[in-house]
């Protein structure tokens, strides 16, 4: 069993291999390389499940409340040595790792299968699969990383691949713009990752080992200021990667990529990476922001950012016409839940939410892909090209509904259990304000998903859905949908009372000693959040299905109209970023640079040029022409003269050589005799 855990490095290695194989041989294969990708992810998935089983059957140590399983820290090789520090390349396997491995490989496998049909006939089909494999391996490298440096490696691979995949159809300007926006926005945050990793490296007495850093942070052996700096810097990276307010603007634009990519980005890789980083380095955040300490006054930066993100993103989801953008803002909002959960000390709940969210969000995205593939003729506009698709696409409809309800958080389905745990954590750790935020968010989530389901599948068929012939998608598309919807239905039960597979025992070792609280199911919270979700669904149902309420009020009331425009323009954040910040930088700085260029740099450059020419002239006239040439000519001349003298004795006749030899020998002998006799 330990062999499996120690060899978990195979799981990221296989997709890397698959990437290489597809790039070099993909085009010559009968299915253009997709079979390699599907097979590689299939193997990785099987290995991940085996690893998870090996982890759960690992013998726990400790007593009662302190019971935990030792993580497997396995060094593979020394990556490089620097200033007396050996930087090792190794894997770290614990409950968090195996959870993520399972989620990532499963979702990626289904996305690969889905793409074989969805991307059929695409001009860069092979490259698409290659990038998909590399993208997955980036996330797998991140989750198996033993050191923060390896995390950077996986993190950057994902950044690159997301750029490649979002801009997959780069011939259209909008798509390549979206790819650049995603890349630059996350890059802004990535600076934080480099800074944070460096700060923690020195604060933790020159080690990159993540488990070691956590341990030192929790022991209180690190200076609090260094911890605070490191944690803040890392959190900036998380804000960028996990699309938290105020850097969330790239994620909805990332919908420009093919739908399977959106599913992968939103469910298993990329955005989850940020949440994973907080979860993995939780000891650092826990100590730095005093999450569990008395007198934290119920606030800390992580929870605040998470809370803001939940609300603003959920509000934006109401005004979107593009089905994928609704789902994108929904993801942003759910990521807010995860981050807030980590911020309020509900570590298990947040990780569990990553787990359940992956299934229903991947299901929703693939469902949206199925709708556009077979129902709305490649359009994603719910208001123009959808509606009334329920009877044409029953499988897509029912899986979509199951996933939506799971997202809304009705009992037994996945989202209910995980969201509930986060709310429970917020409530019992004294973060009351965030409990309220979470509940409001839950109601909004339920309502906008009702709207989304209504606009897509109910009512009158509009646009493409009416003009073309909608039909159910082929099995390569519906198969993954059914699998994901089933998991969205039942995966929450893994942490239901009496079957708590997620928790201190399975997930973490370091935190077992740190007093990070563990919460158990509470009927009060469960009932409350169910009620709230039902309220949201009812409101959405009445408004959209029954057409009750003051429709068209945004047209009549100026205040509400302004609110709508404010939402529709995404709080004007993009305007702020592109026009004010970038525009502000674009104007004055180039002018200043130009002035500097003309007056200072040119002066220096010209001065250097004139000086260099004077020096060069001197060198040419005096040194080169006289001294160097003189020496060269002199050497040549003397060699020629010497040669013509010596040429005479080189006459080729053996006896004259012998005569010279005898002569020399005789003279030498005479000289020797004279010297000796003195």
């Amino acid at each position: 069993m330990n062999t499996l855990l120690r060899n978990a490095w195979l799981i990221p290695a296989i997709p890397v291999l698959s990437f290489v194989l597809i790039i070099f041989f993909g085009k010559r294969l009968p299915k253009k390389g997709s079979e390699i990708g599907v097979a590689a992810l299939g193997i990785s998935l099987v290995l991940s499940i085996a690893t998870a089983v090996a982890w759960i059957s690992r013998h726990p140590v400790g007593e009662g409340h302190e019971k935990f399983r030792h993580a497997v820290d396995h060094n593979l090789f020394t990556w490089f040595s620097m200033g007396g520090t050996d930087v090792r390349f190794g894997i770290h396997v614990d409950g968090l790792t195996v959870t993520m491995l399972f989620v990532v490989t499963l979702v990626s496998f289904l996305v690969h299968v889905f793409s074989t049909e969805y991307m059929k006939g695409d001009r860069r089909y092979t490259h698409f699969f290659a990038a998909l494999s590399l993208f997955t391996s980036g996330m797998l490298i991140l989750v198996t990383a033993a050191t923060t440096l390896q995390m950077i490696l996986g993190w950057e691979i994902m950044g690159l691949c997301s750029f490649m995949l979002i801009g997959h159809w780069w011939e259209e300007q909008a798509n390549s713009d979206a790819a650049l926006k995603a890349f630059f926005t996350t890059r802004t945050g990535d600076i934080g990752l480099l800074v944070g990793v460096s700060v923690l490296f020195f604060a933790a007495d020159r080690t990159f080992n993540a488990a070691k850093i956590n341990e030192l942070a929790l022991d209180g052996h690190m200076s609090h200021w260094a911890l605070l700096m490191g944690a803040t810097a890392l959190f900036v990276a998380v804000i960028g990667k996990s699309a938290q307010f105020p850097l969330h603007t790239w994620l909805p634009d990332a919908m420009a990529g093919p739908t399977p990519v959106s599913a992968l980005i939103h469910a298993a890789t990329m955005v989850v990476a940020g949440v994973y980083l907080v979860a993995r380095m939780y000891g650092v955040f826990w100590s730095a922001f005093s999450i569990g300490a008395e007198g934290h006054a119920g606030v800390n930066p992580i929870a605040i950012i998470g809370g803001i993100t939940i609300l603003i993103a959920a509000a934006l989801a109401f005004v979107q016409a593009d089905i994928k953008k609704v789902l994108a803002y929904s993801t942003v909002s759910q990521l807010g839940y995860m981050i807030m959960g980590l911020g309020v000390g509900a570590w298990t709940g947040a990780v569990f939410h990553i787990f359940t969210h992956a299934f229903f969000k991947a299901g929703l995205f693939l469902g949206a892909g199925s709708v556009s593939h077979s129902g709305s003729h490649h359009s994603f506009d719910m208001k123009k090209d959808m509606g009334g698709l329920k009877k044409h696409m029953p499988i897509t409809y029912w899986t979509f509904v199951v996933c939506s309800v799971a997202l809304a958080g009705l009992p037994i389905l996945a989202g209910f259990w995980s969201k509930d745990e986060i709310l429970l954590g917020a409530g019992s750790n004294g973060y009351t304000a965030f409990l309220v935020v979470g509940l409001i968010g839950a109601a909004m989530t339920a309502a906008y998903m009702t709207r989304c389901v209504y606009l897509t599948f109910h009512g009158e068929a509009r646009g493409n859905a009416a003009e073309h012939h909608p039909h159910e998608s082929p099995p390569a598309i519906t198969g993954p949908l059914v699998v994901l919807a089933s998991l969205a239905a039942v995966s929450g039960l893994l942490n239901a009372p009496g079957f708590e597979l997620f928790g201190k025992l399975n997930l973490n070792e370091v935190f077992a000693h740190a007093g990070i609280p563990e919460h158990h199911f509470s009927l009060l919270y469960a009932g409350g959040s169910t009620l709230i979700a039902l309220l949201g669904i009812t409101a959405g149902f009445l408004w959209y299905f029954r057409q009750l309420g003051p429709h068209g009020i945004t047209e009549r009331s100026r205040l509400l109209r302004a609110g709508y425009v404010f939402l529709d323009q995404k709080y004007f954040l993009d305007v702020l970023y592109t026009d004010y910040i970038i525009g502000g930088i674009k104007g004055p700085i180039p002018r200043a640079v130009y002035w500097f260029n003309q007056n200072v740099l040119d002066g220096v450059v010209n001065g250097v040029g004139v000086g260099a020419r004077a020096v060069a002239n001197f060198v040419y006239d005096v040194i080169d022409q006289k001294i160097v040439d003189g020496a060269v000519n002199g050497a040549g001349f003397s060699a020629e003269e010497g040669g013509s003298v010596l040429r005479v004795i080189q006459n080729g006749r053996v006896q004259s050589y012998a005569a010279v030899m005898f002569g020399v020998a005789a003279v030498s002998a005479l000289a020797l005799a004279l010297i000796v006799s003195r």
Partner: protein, 99 residues
């Protein structure tokens, strides 16, 4: 014992050998002259050995005889090849190494 007679004989033979090696045009005669030079040296060695009762000189003379035999073997082989190529053993015509 008189040493001088032996030394005069050796010097005479040496001079004859040097003259032959430098002045004769026939390659075989040049080789023979070189033998004379070597034997002049041998006489010196043996004479000094007998004069000073040192066995080393005689042993050294034996070495010289052996080396001379080898040298003549190689030298005659070279002469033979020169003859095959040029049908003459005239050393003045062998000047292809002229610079």
């Amino acid at each position: 014992m008189l040493l001088n007679e032996f030394l005069f004989l050796a010097a005479f033979l040496f001079c004859v050998g040097v003259y032959g090696a430098l002045a004769r045009k026939n390659a075989v005669l040049v080789l023979m002259s070189i033998e004379l030079i070597l034997n002049a040296v041998n006489i010196n060695l043996v004479a000094f050995a007998a004069y000073g009762h040192l066995i080393a000189g005689q042993v050294f003379a034996l070495f010289v005889v052996a080396i001379a035999a080898a040298e003549v073997g190689v030298g005659l082989a070279i002469v033979l090849l020169i003859y095959r190529n040029r049908h003459s053993v005239d050393l003045t015509s062998v000047n292809s190494m002229k610079g």
